[in-house]
């Protein structure tokens, strides 16, 4: 009977803390939001379930959790902690992204640059709050609104904050349809929101094939730190656009990205054991993250208005909000807000250009921060 009590002491019930309990509730909330509100289900469901699993109190002496050497979860988490999964996800994203609208209207790319101001202002904010420069850099990248980039940079600059940063990034990405619209309406007039943009021209196959190679060379040479992420993104896109490697592109954007997404989401979630996650730092990170999304959105919109001062064919400044990455949700948000003013103004196509540029921009930003803060 002593054996039974010994075992009981090692059940989760005994070791359960209020923190674990809270985290399990959070995990369930993630899953619920994903299912009922359809917020980023492909990431929130794996992360949410991972959070639940990661907060079952592990038994001392058994290799169970992400933090125990030789545990299965640690092997899976290896792809996160070493930054291997994010480039593979970028490969799949590249193989599913159509850069046509960007190619047909290159001006809009600059909106994707402007939105990255969210990264750097958040970096300053994090410095102010007392984070070390490396930590601040990793936190700043939440403003890039790009989950894989955030995980990649955190794994290099501040592995101990990886969980909080990843969860913050994905949470706010899921909440893009909630966060962006008020800012968009606040910073634009009704007339601006009514601007119609010209139908983009047709792009030739040759342009589509040359683009990923040329754009990679530019990014890679300017910010070598972004080489792996950007390289995989454009490699995937070349596999897609070359047409001769269609079966590879197909696998990259289906089986491969799915497998990586499952393992990444689940193990990131499982790394949020209350003991490591529920800290005042995490709270600050969540605060800064919310701020960074707002700044990024505002940055894109304001730069669109600035560009309009010089342009003959005006840009609808709503499109600037898609300069944060959050592909394709922020583009859809732009589209929806545009439709509210004018049901015949279809902004989705136009918003895809800064959306794609935002992904590239935040990867470059990550490369810069990595270079500057690691050397």
């Amino acid at each position: 009977m002593g054996m039974f009590y010994t075992f009981l002491e090692n059940t989760g019930f005994a070791a359960m803390t209020w923190g674990n309990f809270l985290m399990i509730i959070i995990g369930i909330v993630f899953i619920t939001l994903a299912i009922t509100k359809d917020y980023e289900p492909l990431l929130l469901v794996p992360i949410g379930f991972g959070v639940v699993v990661g907060n079952i109190p592990p038994v001392a002496g058994m290799a169970l959790s992400v933090y125990d050497d030789g545990s299965v979860l640690q092997y899976i988490y290896f792809g996160v902690s070493q930054g291997v999964f994010p480039p593979l996800i970028f490969l799949g994203i590249g193989a599913m992204t159509d850069f046509s609208t960007m190619l047909s209207n290159p001006k809009l790319i600059l909106l994707g640059a402007a939105a990255q101001v969210g990264i750097f202002l958040t970096f300053i904010g994090a410095l102010y709050l007392g984070f070390t420069p490396s930590e601040a850099g990793a936190i700043g990248i939440i403003g890039g609104a790009d989950g894989p980039t955030a995980i990649f940079l955190s794994s290099k600059l501040a592995p101990h904050l990886l969980g909080s940063i990843a969860i913050a990034a994905y949470s706010y990405m899921a909440l893009v349809p909630v966060i962006q619209p008020p800012i968009m309406k606040l910073l634009t007039t009704k007339n601006e929101r009514l601007i119609r943009m010209k139908t983009p021209r047709q792009v030739s196959r040759k342009e589509k094939i040359i683009f990923p190679i040329g754009a990679f060379l530019i990014c890679g040479l300017i910010a070598p730190g972004s080489m792996v992420l950007i390289g995989m993104l454009f490699f995937g896109n070349l596999l897609k656009e070359s047409l001769v490697t269609d079966r590879l592109a197909n696998t990259a954007r289906n089986a491969m990205i799915d497998i990586v997404t499952i393992l990444l989401g689940f193990s990131v979630g499982a790394s949020t054991a209350a003991k490591y996650f529920l800290t005042s730092q995490s709270l600050l990170i969540f605060g800064l993250g919310a701020l960074s999304f707002c700044i990024a959105t505002a940055g894109g919109i304001m730069f669109a208005k600035f560009m309009n001062l010089f342009l003959k064919d005006k840009i609808n400044p709503l499109v600037g909000a898609a300069g944060v990455s959050a592909v394709p949700d922020s583009a859809r948000v732009v589209h929806t807000v545009g439709l509210q003013e004018d049901p015949a103004n279809f902004l989705l196509m136009h918003a895809m250009a800064p959306n794609g540029a935002g992904v590239i921009g935040s990867a470059i930003g990550a490369g810069i921060l990595w270079t500057v803060l690691v050397l």
Partner: protein, 121 residues
């Protein structure tokens, strides 16, 4: 944690921010210029090496007007693709899923392969 403006100065926050934004902008500006120039370069190149090959290939696919059967077949194909897509999106058509599952149960001797019969199964 101590909140302080000094942290920003110590961490060279302003310098990194300005440098960073300049590089991000210059990177995307270069891409933008590259894209803007690209079609002109390609047109210039095509001008020198005029090749009527690509245009000649297309008409081959435009064949005789489709017969009634072909139209019917195309309808069913479109329906199928549509179905496949919607299955992928949110499984409203639970009927077909159920059927597939059933047929696998009926088949003999597959132990751990209770797949729903996708093309992989």
């Amino acid at each position: 944690m101590n909140f302080s403006w000094q942290n920003i100065i110590d961490g060279n926050g302003i310098g990194i921010t300005i440098t960073g934004m300049m590089i991000v902008f210059s990177g995307l500006l270069f891409i933008s210029l590259f894209i803007a120039v690209l079609p002109r370069v390609l047109k210039l190149k095509d001008h020198f090496t005029s090749s009527p090959k690509t245009t000649a290939e297309v008409p081959a696919t435009v064949a005789a007007p489709p017969s009634e059967e072909e139209i019917m077949a195309v309808i069913s194909l479109v329906l199928h693709l549509e179905l496949e897509r919607s299955l992928g999106e949110g499984h409203k058509l639970t009927i077909s899923r159920q059927k597939r599952q059933g047929s696998i149960w009926a088949s003999a001797g597959k132990m751990r392969s209770l797949s729903e019969g996708g093309t992989h199964a």
